[in-house]
Symmetry: C2
Subunit: 157 residues, 2 copies
């Protein structure tokens, strides 16, 4: 589906929920579509949006992003300690972030099936496809024996 078409579809989705379509929302959605699979932070998103659409205030981007999130159109992901980054909903996935080098690995939502089943069976808890971040160490850092801020054996001074 061409990008312009997808944009219209998303805008219709908004209207259908009684959410008004404005320049800011159109622009933010357009940028998110452009970004494809990448995750964009608020500042970056604001910058990109302004390249095409004048003076859209950062606070507006915040409010826009929140509106889109409530409409289920985008997802917020907090990778490690970085500020929240956004991406269109759709292919739900999660991230594993290396605490030593910061590398991130993506994994599909299906990898949580087992956990989901356990949560439902035991607690009746229905897990959302909300973004999840797992911390740990990537292949390279494990191989190297590198250890992040965690537990380094006695090093005195």
């Amino acid at each position: 589906m061409p990008s312009a078409r997808r944009l219209d579809a998303l805008l219709d989705q908004l209207r259908a929920r009684g959410v008004r379509v404005t320049a800011a929302r159109r622009a933010v959605l357009a940028e998110l579509l452009d970004a494809g699979h990448d995750h964009i932070g608020i500042e970056e998103l604001a910058t990109r949006v302004r390249r095409r659409t004048p003076a859209i205030h950062l606070s507006t981007v915040y409010r826009t992003v929140e509106a889109l999130r409530e409409s289920g159109i985008l997802r917020a992901a907090r990778l490690g300690d970085q500020p929240v980054a956004y991406h269109l909903a759709g292919d739900t996935h999660h991230h594993a972030v290396c605490r030593s080098c910061g590398t991130t690995v993506e994994f599909p939502d299906a990898d949580l099936d087992d956990l989901r089943r356990r949560l439902v069976d035991r607690h009746g808890f229905a897990a959302d496809p909300e973004h999840l971040t797992v911390s740990g160490r990537c292949r390279r850092c494990v191989g190297r024996g590198v250890d992040g801020s965690g537990s380094a054996a006695g090093h005195h001074r």
Copy 2:
């Protein structure tokens, strides 16, 4: 093991790493031991600490908590959007938080075994026992058909 004894053990653990044992650290650890299984936020922790030990500054609590975290003695957990809460390391567990009513359900680290295996097998990624928060809806809210900030059908107005 009596609480005082456990405190000493933890303090020794600190000394063994070359971390100095101070009033603030003793006090914070004592409170965390007292809190048992509960998670405590920074402000609350500072308040409790001050009940026994005078004028310990909030920034000191922050620094103390960070030092203890680096030593692997405590864990930080961010439940939903609340500020970070702390608890002693040990019985690693995770939380599922209901996005409608805020109820939290605890689940054991073992519930992540399957995910862990997948991450290792496919990416060589070694997941930490770091705290994880899963969002979703609890049994009651699922039953009631309540829906949090998520997707409420067209409401125009």
